[in-house]
């Protein structure tokens, strides 16, 4: 593709995906409040707009107008930079996530997704690793013992569960033979026995369980949300933050949830693969719809677990990550590798 249309199309794709991601973040908050509310036998937001659908807009306006207080004894440069770091890295990994097949528009073949790097999965893992800094620096810069403890706990938890996250994905990589996310989805085409889809969840269900658990720990969600638990640490690393900076941490957490959910659908549930029929415009949009449905289902499970389980104690959390998940992930990896080597 010549360079000028390429740049234009990339800019349009980036703007659309970013806009969509930010809207999705806001409405994931709405979904969470509604679902957790219903699980707790109450309504959740209902007053602002039908079904409370305008609640995120109201929250956004509230955050903008809230008093942005900077406590006097914080370490100012990092205090201001930490939420920015968290948000930047949370929003970056969406760049390599493909959400549809290849669409033919105006004579150009446009793959749906901002870009497709041949080390896409490693890039997502790298960006997740860098996201630890936002939390660690926020905890430290707040100059507050609860924040420091929360930040340290969060960082230790995140780097511990990164290991099992990565190891659980190696089984999928062996099956697909490539780090590129688009190739991994394409390797899941077809079906077993004619009706069971050829998704990676079926051979790799243990890896999926490990991935799911590690993802909850990576995004600091219940049952692993000790770093920001209200009853334990006031509010952990974001105690001293108010208004827009707090909203940025919030946004980063939900953007991470969406990224992790997208990765789970791409790696284990066949991404955008699903029944496609009809005229070309429908054939281009249906895969995106399947992708969205799967991601929303994953987010629903996230929120469901949040509303149901109690949280881990910190030593239980670390034990679980190091002594249970990592050996299980390595065992899964070895069994997968042995089976693939024996087959070929």
């Amino acid at each position: 593709m010549p360079i000028v249309p390429y740049i234009l199309i990339s800019i349009i794709k980036s703007a659309l995906v970013l806009f969509f991601l930010l809207t999705a973040v806001a409405y994931t908050v709405w979904l969470e409040r509604k679902v957790v509310g219903r699980m707790q036998n109450r309504w959740g937001p209902t007053r602002v707009g039908p079904f409370g659908l305008l609640q995120p807009a109201a929250d956004g306006v509230k955050f903008l107008f809230k008093e942005d207080l900077t406590p006097p004894h914080v370490y100012k440069p990092l205090y201001i930079a930490a939420p920015l770091i968290a948000v930047i890295f949370a929003l970056t990994s969406i760049a390599v996530i493909p959400f549809g097949g290849i669409v033919s528009l105006g004579g150009y073949d446009i793959p749906l997704g901002i870009t497709d790097v041949n080390i896409g999965l490693l890039l997502v893992l790298g960006v997740t690793s860098m996201g630890v800094y936002g939390i660690a620096l926020a905890g430290w810069a707040s100059n507050n013992k609860y924040s420091l403890l929360g930040g340290l706990r969060a960082s230790a938890q995140m780097i511990s569960y990164e290991l099992s996250l990565g190891l659980s994905l190696v089984g999928v990589l062996i099956l697909a033979g490539s780090f590129s996310l688009r190739d991994i989805v394409e390797a899941q085409r077809g079906s077993y026995l004619g009706f069971i889809p050829h998704w990676n969840i079926f051979p790799q269900f243990i890896a999926f369980f490990i991935y799911l658990t590690s993802a909850y720990a990576e995004t600091n969600r219940i049952p692993f949300d000790l770093p920001e638990a209200e009853t334990e640490l006031v509010a952990g690393y974001h105690t001293e933050y108010s208004a827009m900076k707090f909203a940025m941490f919030f946004m980063a957490e939900y953007a991470n949830m969406i990224t992790v959910g997208s990765l789970a659908t791409l790696l284990f549930f066949g991404g955008w693969l699903g029944p496609v029929f009809g005229p070309p415009i429908l054939q281009a949009l249906l895969p995106v719809l399947w992708f969205l449905i799967k991601v929303v289902a994953f987010l629903f499970v996230y929120i469901w677990v949040r509303g149901t389980l109690p949280r881990f104690r910190y030593d239980q959390l670390m034990w679980f990550g190091w002594k249970f998940l990592i050996p299980l992930a390595i065992a899964n990896l070895m069994v997968t590798a042995l089976i693939i080597a024996w087959k070929s």
């Binding site: 620096l137 430290w140 340290l152």
Partner: protein
């Protein structure tokens, strides 16, 4: 020969050197640690420009994303304070600046003598994960396994040093 490649190389190199100089000049250790993270990220960019994509990704994941987190941990936990600035000793100024100049002139002379003799095109050596995996597990299997045992020894040493000694039955004096 001003290609995009050269511009990006110079850009990443400048960021790397700026980060390294900033690391030395900052007074608070946390700022130095953050500058080191910038240096690691710039190096990852340089690796990418050479076509070593796997190494670049692993540099970010391992070095910038895990090792530097531990550095930052230590700085946060030990509450290392702001460095005191002193004028520096006279000897260090008298020997340091000529030494630095001589060193850099030597390095520049060696590099310029060698330039144009042996060139490696970016992307010539294997950089894709598949190729690196093949190399690691076929030709370089022994160094790979020995390195992992080396790291294991380091971890064992750290655990042995950090474990609290067992209390004797008699208790303290």
């Amino acid at each position: 020969m001003l290609s995009v490649h050269l511009i990006l190389f110079l850009l990443f190199g400048a960021v790397c050197v700026a980060g390294a100089i900033n690391l030395l000049l900052q007074r608070h250790p946390i700022n130095s640690a953050l500058s080191l993270i910038v240096v690691m990220a710039a190096l990852a960019g340089e690796y990418l420009l050479l076509g070593a994509e796997f190494v670049a990704a692993v540099q970010v994941i391992v070095y910038a994303g895990a090792i530097m987190v531990l550095f930052v941990f230590v700085i946060m936990l030990l509450n290392a304070g702001v460095e005191e600035r002193s004028a520096g000793s006279r000897v260090s100024w008298l020997l340091g600046i000529p030494g630095l100049l001589t060193g850099s002139l030597l390095v520049a002379w060696v590099l310029l003598r060698q330039s144009g003799t042996f060139m490696l095109k970016a992307g010539e050596q294997p950089g894709a994960p598949k190729d690196i995996g093949q190399l690691l597990f076929h030709q370089f299997l022994l160094p790979f396994e020995v390195t992992s045992i080396l790291i294991l020894i380091a971890v064992l040493g750290a655990v042995a040093l950090a474990t609290k000694p067992e209390k004797t039955a008699e208790g303290a004096d």
